[in-house]
Each structure stands twice: as structure tokens, then as C-alpha cells.
């Protein structure tokens, strides 16, 4: 891991109308997979929203390395029904490549998004964000809708991306997944 972190949070308190999470301090380095675990409603997604500028920072600060390129996978993909966009186009849109996709998705690159299952769509969005040109990737509940094979493939893909030098921040309520894939874990309480 490089000495200079990609992202550093110092005593951060963030939320929307009122604080939802914090105070919290953490660092994310290049090549690291950092987990943020905790029960539903503890502010995990709000933390990511604060990092990407869509939640309010009440106190503390977020420091990003100059020129840092962030990629964010949202917990819920946007409504895509009725739009004639296929899986290959979605991956190409973020600049990600299709090489290395699991076979059960690689064979469906020509399918429209609204013809894919929930798990296939989830993995596709994950892939498009994970493999996009970025220095740090933020993943919000990446195992949602995935079957065990999908989760196993995701674990391998995360490790490979980290080995390439990206810093990964993984938010999940799935303690087993976080324990299996993350090099460090920050646990959030359920009060806020």
C-alpha cells in the first residue's frame, strides 16, 4: 500500500436533514479493500454519499488525493425498463472492458437490460463500476441479488482489481462477504 492514502476521512459526521453517520475516521490506500460493515440503517450508504458529494457533511472533513477518479456502484440500479440498451453497451459506457466477465454474463452481452434477471443486472452494474477507469471504487451492498456463484466470482474480481492498484471501499451488511474479501473492516453501530 502507498504511504499517501487515496481517501482520508477525519471525524466525519454526515447525513441529510440531520446527521446519520459519524463521527468517523478512516483511510483508504491504493491496492486495499476496506470494508464498512453494520446493520441496515446505520449510515453505510450515507457515508458513500458523503464521499461522492450527494450527502451533507456536518463536521469533520473528507480529503481526496489530487485528481482522484472515483467510481460508485449504487445499491439500487436506476429504473431501466423500456430503454433499448444492452449489456455490452452498459459496460462500454463507463469505459470498462468485457474481458473477464463470468461466462453466464459474457454470453448475454447482446441482451437488453430489461431482459436480464435481477442478479445478472446487479453483476453487470457492479462490473461496469468496478472495471471503469478509476483510482478508487466505492461499492454499496454489492452482494444484493447475487447467488453464491456470483458472490464467489465477485470476490475474485475485487481481489484482482485491488492487485491492479485500485483502492476499494466495500459497504455491506453481509459479514461473511466482508470478512472474506476485505483486508480491514470498519464497523458502524446501529444507533445512527
Amino acid at each position: 500500500m502507498n504511504a499517501l492514502p487515496l481517501l482520508e476521512i477525519e471525524a466525519l459526521t454526515a447525513g441529510y436533514a440531520r446527521p446519520v453517520v459519524g463521527p468517523l475516521s478512516m483511510r483508504l490506500g491504493a491496492g486495499e479493500i476496506l470494508g464498512v460493515a453494520g446493520p441496515n440503517g446505520c449510515g453505510k450508504s450515507t457515508l458513500l454519499a458523503a464521499l461522492t458529494g450527494s450527502a451533507r457533511v456536518f463536521s469533520g472533513r473528507v480529503c481526496k488525493r489530487a485528481g482522484l477518479r472515483l467510481s460508485l456502484q449504487q445499491q439500487n440500479p436506476p429504473e431501466i425498463g423500456g430503454v433499448p440498451f444492452n449489456a455490452g453497451e452498459l459496460i462500454a459506457l463507463t469505459g470498462a472492458g468485457a474481458g473477464g466477465l463470468p461466462p453466464w454474463l459474457a454470453s448475454r452481452l447482446g441482451e437488453r437490460l430489461d431482459r436480464l434477471s435481477g442478479g445478472q443486472l446487479q453483476f453487470l452494474y457492479l462490473w461496469a463500476c468496478l472495471q471503469a477507469p478509476a483510482d478508487a471504487v466505492l461499492l454499496d451492498e454489492p452482494t444484493n441479488n447475487l447467488d453464491p456463484d456470483g458472490v464467489a466470482f465477485l470476490e475474485g474480481a475485487l481481489r484482482r482489481r485491488a492487485a491492479e492498484g485500485a483502492g476499494l471501499l466495500v459497504v455491506s451488511h453481509d459479514a461473511r462477504f466482508v470478512g472474506a474479501v476485505c483486508s480491514r473492516t470498519v464497523r458502524l453501530g446501529g444507533s445512527g
Binding site: Q74, F85, E89, L90, L93, E111, C129
Partner: protein, 276 residues
């Protein structure tokens, strides 16, 4: 073609109609193309509001002795600016804003038409479409705008698609997509303002709304949907242009009815094929 009345062919290939035909053809390509992105953003009501506002602007320009195109473009541009103000609002509030714009444009137009004899004739032309009376200036404006739109869309396309499928893509990188959205709104407003002056308010709206509706149902990719929408628009335009000349009917309503028939036919075909 052998069995066709020579008089009909004479009408269709009369050089008098060459410039109007080319002007309409430009919009038959441009409007469905832009309409695909408008449908992606689920903002078709904004298109109708822009077209109606452009018509009101043209009539106001005529009242003050200014070029109609200037008035239409200015009014549609103003409407795009107002839409931009509501960009961050909830979807319901956005829809309400577009409906208000639509009503404003309609109210101003109808009052002008009712009270000014000169506006009455022009009002009918704007609502019915006056394609056969367009001249070289209309053609030049349409061509120049289409070239500008094609150039701008090359840069805007990926941004608009990213904003739809990855709403936080730019924000996560500390960038904003609001300028791209505003630029797109100005493109839509400009295209509709110019198209309204040739194919009419509802003809322009039909052209920007129906071909993407058909294409989105059938296409398996974005690229194919754009090609299919443009193909539908051009075919409907060619049929409406010929029918309007041969049957001596107003172009705009014929175009609208042909596109509605195509839209209904497409939906029925999908149902029969078991797609829906």
C-alpha cells in the same frame, strides 16, 4: 410506378417542392434522433411545451415586426432556461412546470390569433404546418442547425446516457452534468422552434415522440434504436409529403395521423407476436 397517374408524378417531382422536401427531410432525421434522448430522459412533455412556446414566440415576433424564426428560437430558448431551473426538482414538479409552459404557450398563441387578423393566418400555418411554403432560408437554417446538433450530440450522447444509467458517475468525479443537460435542452428547443415553422407544432411533436416510441419497443441496442427511429421518421415523412401533395391536404395532420397509425400498428404487432 407504371400505373401511376403522370400528373401525380409531376406534382411529386415539381422543382417547386424541392426545397420544402429537403427542409422536412432534415427534420425527419433530426427530430427522431433527438427524440431518442428525450425519451431516455422521459421528458416528452417538455418537447410539446417547447414547440407550443416556440409558436407563441413566432407570433409575438410577427407582432413586433421581427423575424419569426428569431421569436420562435428566443421563446423556446427561454422555455429551456425555465426548464433548467426545475432540473433538480422532483419529477412531479418538473412535469407540472412543463405543463405550465405548454399552457402559457397555448394561451398566448390563441389570444394573438383571436385578436390579430395577421396572426390568425400565421397561427393556422404554425399549427397545421406550412412545409410547402418554406424557402431557401428555412432550408439553410435547418441544415445549419442539424449540422450543429450532430456535432453537439457526438459530445453529449455519452454524458446523457451516463447520467441516466449511472446518475452519480460525474458527481463521484467532482463534475456536474447540468451543463450537458442544459445544452441538450437548448438543442431540443432550437430544433423544435425551427421545425414548428415548417412542419407545424403537432407535426414536430409527432416526429420527436412517435418514432422513438416505436424504436424503443423493438430495438435490441441503443444504436439500433436510433437507426430505427430515424428510419420510421423518414418513412412517415416521405409518405406524408407525397399524400399531402397528391390529396391536397395539410401536411402536419397527415404526418401526425400516419405516425399514430404506425405507433398503434407497432403495438398491435408486438402483442400479436407475444412480446408484450
Amino acid at each position: 410506378m407504371n400505373g401511376m397517374n403522370p400528373g401525380v408524378l409531376d406534382i411529386l417531382f415539381d422543382p417547386l417542392f424541392a426545397e420544402p422536401f429537403a427542409t422536412g427531410l432534415i427534420f425527419a432525421v433530426l427530430l427522431p434522433l433527438l427524440g431518442c434522448y428525450l425519451r431516455l430522459r422521459d421528458e416528452w412533455l417538455a418537447a410539446l411545451a417547447f414547440a407550443q412556446t416556440a409558436a407563441a414566440g413566432s407570433l409575438l415576433a410577427m407582432l413586433f415586426g421581427l423575424p419569426l424564426a428569431l421569436g420562435g428560437l428566443a421563446a423556446a430558448g427561454l422555455a429551456a432556461g425555465l426548464k433548467h431551473v426545475f432540473e433538480g426538482a422532483a419529477r412531479g414538479a418538473q412535469g407540472a412546470a412543463y405543463a405550465m409552459l405548454l399552457l402559457l404557450g397555448w394561451g398566448v398563441s390563441v389570444l394573438l390569433v383571436a385578436n390579430l387578423p395577421l396572426a390568425e393566418r400565421m397561427g393556422h400555418a404554425l399549427f397545421d404546418g406550412q412545409l410547402y411554403f418554406t424557402d431557401r432560408a428555412h432550408l439553410a437554417a435547418a441544415g445549419a442547425f442539424a449540422a450543429l446538433a450532430a456535432f453537439a450530440l457526438r459530445g453529449l450522447s455519452r454524458r446523457l446516457l451516463l447520467a441516466h444509467f449511472f446518475p452519480d458517475f460525474y458527481r463521484a468525479r467532482g463534475l456536474s452534468e447540468r451543463r450537458a443537460h442544459f445544452a441538450f435542452d437548448l438543442l431540443i428547443a432550437g430544433a423544435l422552434a425551427l421545425a414548428t415553422m415548417s412542419v407545424g407544432v403537432m407535426g414536430a411533436f409527432a416526429m420527436i415522440f412517435v418514432p422513438p416510441l416505436i424504436a424503443f419497443a423493438w430495438a435490441k441496442s441503443w444504436r439500433r434504436s436510433v437507426l430505427l427511429a430515424v428510419g420510421c421518421g423518414v418513412l412517415a415523412y416521405l409518405a406524408a409529403f407525397a399524400l399531402a401533395l397528391v390529396l391536397d391536404q395539410p401536411f402536419g395532420p397527415l404526418l401526425g395521423l400516419l405516425l399514430v397509425a404506425a405507433g398503434v400498428g407497432s403495438a398491435l404487432l408486438r402483442r400479436l407476436a407475444g412480446h408484450d
